[in-house]
């Protein structure tokens, strides 16, 4: 029997709130099926299951905020005998794990499992406190002494609300989702800068021909078939990442760099009021420009509506972050762990440029690649930028 747990939907996620089950006990499920909807700081995410089988029991109640690793459901293989009482508080490693996550032993068990009576609280091992990861993090931020707190969670575990109570001195004050997102992004970015030895290469590229190509195409195309420069940039990233594998994959603490055959560029989308989400455009290396554009439209639309999928949140292999049509001319970005590279793109600018020996006004764009020095070096990143520039300058090429 397998246990389906609250997945980590990115380095910046600590907890998720289960808001909808799309399966019930007795339903057959297959790897990749969307089985639940979890609300995170980045909106509602559709969660896929990564095993085949039959749903045995739903363990988590709707509306509860649960830490990453908390058991959500049990799944048995077709024909597998079901044990009388399911032991569900020690989940196996989450299937879609792309990085080691905080110890599941500290996860708040789904205390409201309807089938099994609440287990007697196991005594905490030798003075070790039972603390949920979210509670631990908040306590660390606020400087709260955990040993002085009385836990209200299962088995006396200290949960987030206990720490909030302690810091507020009164019943937990709910922080806004936006504040929580900023906090989560801050934590992920701090971790990135602390652990990843970043280095940067920059190049300014003449994009006059690319803009000319887009203008010509868009003049006659109906709105549905128009292209944006952003699609050209994401496709150029995908094609370059397919050729320079040291920039495409994940760096895992236990395994080191694991390159990815598939290129899934995360497309950074700014959310209203601040914050960022970077869902992956899956297998973009195999897409034409029209397919890339259609895929990005779909991602942006779903990001706004809060219907991204868990796999899109975790399986990005490189990130593209673009400042859009107006704004600063260059950006050196922070890599989104466990990825190993980020392509930061400034706004297009009209600049004096030398073409065929003469200075002429051209529209140019500055790309800065942030890369992980544990995995790549300047030569490889330079090759990536050369491939990227070539693709951007020839957007019509298949």
């Amino acid at each position: 029997m397998g246990v389906f747990v609250m997945p980590s939907l990115g380095a910046d996620m600590e907890v998720g709130k289960l808001v909808e089950w799309l399966v019930k006990p007795g339903d057959s499920v297959h790897r990749g099926d969307v089985v639940a909807v979890v609300e995170t700081q980045k909106g509602a995410i559709e969660i896929e299951i990564f095993q085949d089988g039959v749903v045995h029991d739903l363990l988590a109640d709707l509306g509860r905020e649960l830490p990453v690793g908390a058991p959500l459901a049990t799944v048995v293989a077709e024909g597998e005998a079901v044990p009388e009482t399911a032991e569900t508080t020690t989940p196996e490693a989450p299937a879609p794990a792309t990085e080691p996550e905080p110890e599941p032993a500290h996860a708040e068990p789904a205390a409201t499992a309807p089938a099994s009576p609440p287990p007697a609280a196991p005594p905490a091992a030798d003075g070790a406190l039972r603390v949920s990861p979210a509670a631990r993090q908040l306590a660390a931020e606020k400087g709260v002494d955990l040993s002085a707190l009385k836990g209200s969670g299962p088995g006396g575990a200290i949960v987030l609300s206990d720490v909030e109570d302690a810091t507020a001195g009164k019943p937990a004050k709910k922080t806004s989702p936006m504040e929580e997102m900023h906090k989560a992004i801050a934590a992920a970015m701090t971790r990135s800068k602390r652990t990843i030895p970043h280095f940067y290469l920059t190049e300014t590229i003449d994009i006059d021909d690319a803009i000319g190509f887009l203008d010509t195409h868009n003049e006659t195309a109906p709105p549905d078939e128009r292209f944006l420069l952003g699609a050209v940039l994401v496709r150029a990233t995908a094609l370059a990442a397919a050729k320079v594998k040291e920039l495409n994959g994940h760096y895992l603490d236990d395994k080191g760099f694991v390159p990815s055959d598939m290129v899934n560029p995360g497309v950074a989308i700014a959310l209203r009021g601040g914050g960022l989400v970077a869902p992956a455009l899956m297998d973009a290396g195999a897409m034409s420009l029209a397919e890339t554009m259609a895929g990005m439209r779909d991602l942006v639309t779903r990001a706004r509506a809060g219907r991204l999928r868990g796999s899109e949140m975790t399986q990005g292999t490189i990130t593209v972050s673009s400042l859009g049509e107006t704004g600063a001319e260059a950006m050196s970005g922070v890599i989104f762990p466990p990825q190993v590279a980020l392509v930061g793109i400034g706004a297009p600018k009209l600049r004096p440029w030398v073409v065929d020996g003469a200075v002429v006004p051209r529209r140019v764009l500055t790309v800065t690649v942030s890369a992980d020095h544990r995995v790549s070096d300047g030569r490889q990143v330079a090759r990536f930028i050369a491939e990227f520039a070539r693709s951007v300058q020839t957007p019509e090429e298949p």
């Binding site: 549905d224 420069l229 959310l271």
Partner: protein, 80 residues
């Protein structure tokens, strides 16, 4: 179609593209990119939706004409 109808269609599609906007707080002079924070993909989605609903072809050079609800109503009334 009256300008009131066109305004309603415009706002309806704007909210479909950006469902997290607060409908009541959108003013006639609010710029969809500078004030309401739509990105270029959102703008394209809005243009596509208006094309679908009103049959108005909005070329790229005319995008500034639909950048605020106030300007859009004038432009779309003439074109529709």
């Amino acid at each position: 179609m009256t300008s009131t109808d066109i305004r309603a269609v415009y706002l309806e599609e704007l909210l479909r593209v950006a469902p997290d906007l607060d409908a009541d707080s959108i003013g006639d002079d609010d710029h969809i990119q500078d004030d309401l924070e739509l990105d270029s993909m959102d703008v394209l989605n809005l243009v596509a939706a208006l094309h679908e609903r009103l049959g108005v072809d909005i070329p790229e050079k005319d995008y500034p004409e639909i950048a605020t609800p106030g300007r859009a109503v004038g432009y779309l009334s003439k074109a529709a």
